[in-house]
Point group: C2
Chain length 363, copies 2
């Protein structure tokens, strides 16, 4: 990291001491720095304990910050000259991305000046940079991306992982996903004894691929020691159901599943709007139904649970939706702050180191 | 097949001549024979060209048929003594299921007395019996189950396959799924030049598993000859989108995807009802909104597109939802009749035989 580049920066920097410092990639995301700064401002208002390091073009960011009184004295800007685009290939970004806001945001976690990073940018690039700069936790072969999925659970959400960090996962990886997901639910949602399900095409033990049968045994055998309940195989319908708190799957299946669910929800939303536009009577009904529909949207609003978490790294990284607005960014920051204040990553590291040797450690 | 067992049977049997005969497993499904017979009656009313062979307990079925004037002279009951339950293992059913209504329903297609079979029963058992008794089409290594998925397409649905016939699929299988799905869409939905997409975790050509990259090339190379447009890799969100008419994937991923979509739609429905029950005003709104919501339900009603089709066998088998009511059964019968009247399976057999040699044929 370079030293602070101007006086504002230096003054603000001192003020961050004593706060939970969150490193934010201000240039990632479709909505640009304005949405990110607005999201930081919302979060700052809600949580007096947090402060920010914003990474990006200072000329663009500083005026946005200056307008937000909530951010006064709680925000430092780290100037960067380049931006990772949504189209950039992760392998390319790893080679040439040192001057990007995303790289810089991760670097703040690596150096310890921030405890957690948030970005709305290119997921693949963010994971690649995080892997290279933060490195994997001891005991973890494949890091995972965990997301919250709306469900009929008491808490309203299941945690599913992996949803796309890696398209492969063997039985050992799936066990580690179970342990990481369990730890995330315990520390991020306050559920002491989470229920863990392993995603398959049927609930019978004889079904599915060989690695799933092996994973079944491994996850079952670790349940008592790690303090979770293994509910066995679950199916696609359980992702939105109430059979589990953690849904374990490989990154290929998980990625297809969340995108299928999002697409289906979006199609239903479109059809609902069309249905209400059909006739004068239905338009009147839609006016009266507006509070009900708004309540519905609030309950299943993806912005409220915005933020995939990268698990299995030496540092916490929260990936917000590319299309996140201020509300979405604020939700991701809230999650980041909660995980940081719970010392989630330290607990996760201890659990992963304790559980059992990973194969690649021997090589 | 045994000879007709009583006079009613014999008389009705003669009357079937000249009709498109549909073999129906009357005992499959959660709702029992009453729903199946009611569905047949609805279909008979709508389509004067079809007739039925109903397989199951004659003592239970005959009185139900007698009550339906639409079925008079167009329905033969083939008595069977056993029933495949939803919990029965396919491997077990194949060994001991000869006296079940499901086996008998498939046998009618095998013998040629019916052109297509419909069952609401255990999917795995139905596929296993169909494989054993009808055998695979020449050129097909892995048969597939194809379903219609609600989408923003002009026709309102995409066809996705495989959704669970087999948890594995190599590049050759995926090519055949593309060809079978294309043929199904052409003959079942009247789309002459369907768009075919290959499900993956991203649309970039470098993404995904090795077999997907190989399948990409194979499906692309066959597009011109077979008369479809290959749109390349698609993602989970495209299953309900307008980028494709046919979504090709392995049975593991496809099964998780449809169950995820169904579960998500069901959760949104529950939340929508809760939202409308919230207050006196919202309950009033729900009364006024009722026609709009009914219109919505009609557009995305799974019962209207009820019926997975088994592709790649010497004979057409339509699998209806286990929970199908009369409307659902009728939709499955409508699809079965349409495929039979279009001589779909003959066209499919010709296409599969023509396209290229399959590996297992050499062994």
């Amino acid at each position: 990291m370079t030293a602070p580049t101007d006086q504002t920066d230096a003054i603000a920097s001192d003020a961050l001491i004593g706060h939970t410092v969150i490193s934010v990639d201000a240039m990632g995301g479709d909505e640009g720095p304005a949405a990110v700064v607005a999201g930081c401002s919302l979060s700052a208002k809600a949580n007096p304990d947090i402060a920010f390091i914003l990474h990006g073009d200072e000329a663009e960011i500083a005026p946005l910050v200056a307008k937000r009184r909530d951010l006064e004295g709680r925000c430092r800007v780290h100037h960067t000259t380049e931006v990772v685009s949504m189209e950039d290939k992760p392998s390319q970004v790893v080679r040439t991305g040192k001057n990007t806001s995303m790289w810089s945001a991760i670097e703040s976690v690596r150096s310890g000046e921030a405890s957690v990073a948030v970005s709305c940018g290119n997921t693949g690039a963010l994971m690649a940079i995080s892997m290279i700069r933060l490195r994997k936790l001891a005991g973890v072969n494949r890091p995972a991306i965990a997301v919250l999925y709306p469900s009929s659970n008491p808490q309203g959400f299941n945690v599913m992982l992996d949803v796309g960090a890696d398209i492969r996962a063997d039985a050992d990886d799936l066990l580690r996903y179970a342990l990481m997901g369990m730890s995330y639910v315990r520390n991020g949602m306050g559920i002491d004894h989470p229920r863990v399900g392993l995603l398959n095409v049927g609930t019978e033990e004889h079904k599915g691929r060989a690695e799933l049968k092996d994973a079944f045994d491994l996850i079952r055998d670790h349940a008592e020691d790690a303090g979770y309940e293994f509910v066995g195989f679950v199916e696609g319908g359980d992702i939105s159901g109430n059979s589990s708190d953690v849904i374990v799957t490989d990154g290929f299946t998980g990625n297809v599943a969340i995108k299928t669910g999002e697409g289906t929800a979006s199609l239903i939303g479109t059809r609902l709007r069309e249905a209400f536009k059909y006739s004068p009577l239905s338009r009147l009904a839609s006016l009266l139904a507006y509070p009900s529909l708004r309540r519905l949207r609030h309950r299943i609003d993806p912005r409220r649970v915005n933020g995939g978490v990268f698990l299995g790294l030496n540092g916490t990284v929260v990936k917000s939706h590319g299309s996140a607005d201020a509300t979405g960014v604020s939700a991701a920051i809230k999650l980041a702050a909660q995980l940081s204040q719970n010392k989630f990553n330290e607990k996760l590291a201890a659990r992963m180191a304790a559980v059992l040797p990973v194969e690649e450690d021997k090589t």
